[in-house]
């Protein structure tokens, strides 16, 4: 996507990855040398369930155009059920995002296991494309609440 001035929009995307599955998949994507967009930043957490609403909303206010949260497949969470909780919290947050005029599509929850290096690269690539379509985050740098 290009904006009116013809400058290519490079989205800033943050990925919160669970240590046990998706972070390992990201490592595998790395050692397999799959190309990934430089605009994507990985932040490691122990489990997808660690991600709370404050962290996500603040990340949007701080200017992220998209956030990917990725963890173990349902049933595979290293801590039993964390990813189920993550999923539930997400459903709620997506509603909150609407009220903030933030397209819920800017938030994606994906399950990527440690052997899915290729899929990780695909998920990140596709999400980046989607965010490019959506354009810049409209609430970037608005004051927090």
């Amino acid at each position: 996507m290009e904006d009116k001035a013809g400058v290519e929009f490079v989205p800033s995307i943050v990925g919160f990855l669970c240590n046990w599955c998706t972070y390992a998949a990201a490592d595998l994507a790395g050692s397999s040398k799959f190309a990934l967009p430089p605009s994507f930043t990985v932040i490691r957490v122990m489990c997808s369930s660690r991600i709370d609403h404050n962290l996500l909303l603040s990340t949007y206010f701080k200017g992220a155009d998209g956030i990917l949260v990725a963890g173990c497949h349902p049933g595979d969470c290293h801590y039993g059920e964390g990813n189920y909780y993550a999923r539930r919290r997400f459903a709620l947050l997506k509603k909150v995002m609407e009220t903030l005029n933030l397209d819920p599509e800017r938030l994606q929850l994906s399950w990527v296991s440690a052997s899915e290096g290729k899929r990780y690269a695909e998920v990140v690539g596709e999400f980046t494309e989607k965010i490019k379509e959506l354009g810049p985050n409209p609430i970037k740098n608005s004051t927090r609440f």
Binding site: W20, A24, H73, D76, A114, S115, E116, G117
Partner: protein, 434 residues
């Protein structure tokens, strides 16, 4: 005061790794000997394991890392045990560390050396479904992530050419073509044999067409075909035709009659395959041809019920040993006798054979080196006192996992922990007794 000893564990599959970690946790010094250049065993070949279809890498990689990083475990990959002498509490063991030609401490696993290597041959670890170089790691994500040079095929090492390309490509000076085998001698108090098992040689069953018909697959081949870090990056395509199969028959009990036992895991992995197939190729028709469904224990039948009728059609045959697979144009024809005994034909693109678990090729050799008895089927025998003790015919030598007989991951882990528990129990007894 501290009740510790040295223990030798042979085989770094799930059983060997779990036993090692448990022993190391109690401050025992563990020597973990693995014949392959990598640890993990068979489980890491499966993308997902039944019954929950949990990602195997996610499940096993942290265990592999724990093993490699544990200060009490000395992991000796690409090594074999040559001699075990002595008795409980005082074994002398001779281990041959085969020349790897790549330094485990200097190599960082960047993979720059594979590309230049001019040699290309089949990758056995990938069930020969893809090629590898003479310098290689078995698969991406290998642990330790350090290649090995296959000295038989390396042009320099087999004396065919003055090749030095890998050495030149390595920025870390990690490759040393003058490396040689190293023999080490250690003292241990007890031994655990966890060398795993193999699968039935399907080419000995001509009626099933394996190795003559390209559309017929062994179960491990299918596991790799499905694996997203495998030869096709997880795409299920048929060899030669490269076609995506639209109909698949999984034939149960291949080798059960010959081996005279039921392997207890084949039904479950067959159902797992049905789920895999439907997941990747939703339009495919999948059939399981079976005579008994063996889904023992509290966790398995519900998985079977969830695939039965949805992911696969279950076709009962009154005679599983007499199923025939033959060529049928570009596809395959499966002939079997149905419930009423009449011959029925089924046309499919792909056949997967649920092969029995059998003793590893070198089980007999290992038993000889370890001085232990085999059972009538060629697995390592336990004392058979009815208690499920993991001790073998030689005092101080234990067995665990599929080296003892076919079983699933759960029971392999139980046996590993049970054997480690027994070792710790005798180590404690030895110390407090002396």
């Amino acid at each position: 005061m501290s009740q510790t000893g040295n223990v030798l564990v042979i085989g770094a599959g799930i059983a060997g790794m779990k036993a090692s970690l448990m022993l190391a946790g109690a401050s025992n010094k563990v020597y973990l000997v693995e014949k392959l250049p990598i640890i993990g065993g068979k489980v890491i070949k499966n993308e997902e394991s039944f019954p929950n279809l949990e990602c195997s890498t996610c499940m096993v990689a942290p265990i592999q890392q724990d093993v490699l990083q544990n200060p009490n475990i000395e992991t000796l990959t690409y090594s074999i045990v040559e001699k075990i002498e002595g008795k409980l509490g005082d074994f002398s063991v001779v281990i041959r560390k085969k020349a790897r030609y790549v330094s485990l401490t200097d190599c960082i696993g960047c993979g720059m050396c594979y590309e230049p290597c001019p040699v290309s041959l089949k990758n056995e670890w990938e069930e020969n479904l893809i090629d590898r170089k003479a310098i290689y790691v078995p698969c991406s994500g290998s642990l330790p992530n350090v290649p090995v040079i296959d000295s038989e095929h390396c042009l320099k090492l087999n004396g065919k050419e003055e090749c030095n390309l890998c050495v030149e490509s390595c920025a870390f000076e990690a490759i040393n073509l003058d490396d040689s085998d190293e023999v080490m001698e250690i003292k241990v108090g007890a031994v655990i044999l966890a060398a795993g098992s193999s699968t039935f040689d399907l080419s000995s069953l001509p009626n099933l067409g394996y190795s003559t018909l390209p559309g017929v697959y062994a179960p491990m081949e299918f596991e790799r075909l499905f694996a997203s870090n495998g030869p096709t990056l997880g795409e299920i395509t048929l060899r030669e035709s490269e076609k995506i199969p639209e109909s698949v028959a999984v034939i149960h009990c291949a080798g059960r009659k010959e081996q005279k036992y039921c392997s207890a895991v084949c039904c479950m992995y067959s159902f797992k395959f049905a789920r895999f197939l439907k997941h990747k190729i939703p339009s495919a028709s999948v059939f399981n041809i079976y005579s008994d469904v063996c889904v023992p224990g509290k966790n398995y039948q519900s998985f079977y019920k969830s695939v039965e009728g949805t992911d696969t059609e279950m076709l009962y045959t009154s005679s599983i040993d007499e199923v025939q697979v033959s060529e049928n144009g570009p596809g395959l024809k499966v002939t079997y006798s149905d419930a009423s005994g009449s011959m029925t034909e089924l046309n499919v693109d792909m056949v997967i054979l649920a092969a029995a678990l059998v003793p590893d090729d070198d089980a007999a050799e290992l038993a000889e080196i370890a001085g232990v008895d085999l059972d009538s089927r060629g697995f390592i025998a336990t004392v058979q006192d009815g208690s499920g003790s993991m001790e073998t015919s030689r005092e101080g030598v234990f067995v665990a996992g599929t080296a003892e007989g076919p079983k699933d991951i759960q029971n392999s882990v139980i046996q590993a922990e049970s054997a480690a528990g027994q070792v710790m129990d005798i180590v404690t007894a030895e110390v407090s007794g002396s």
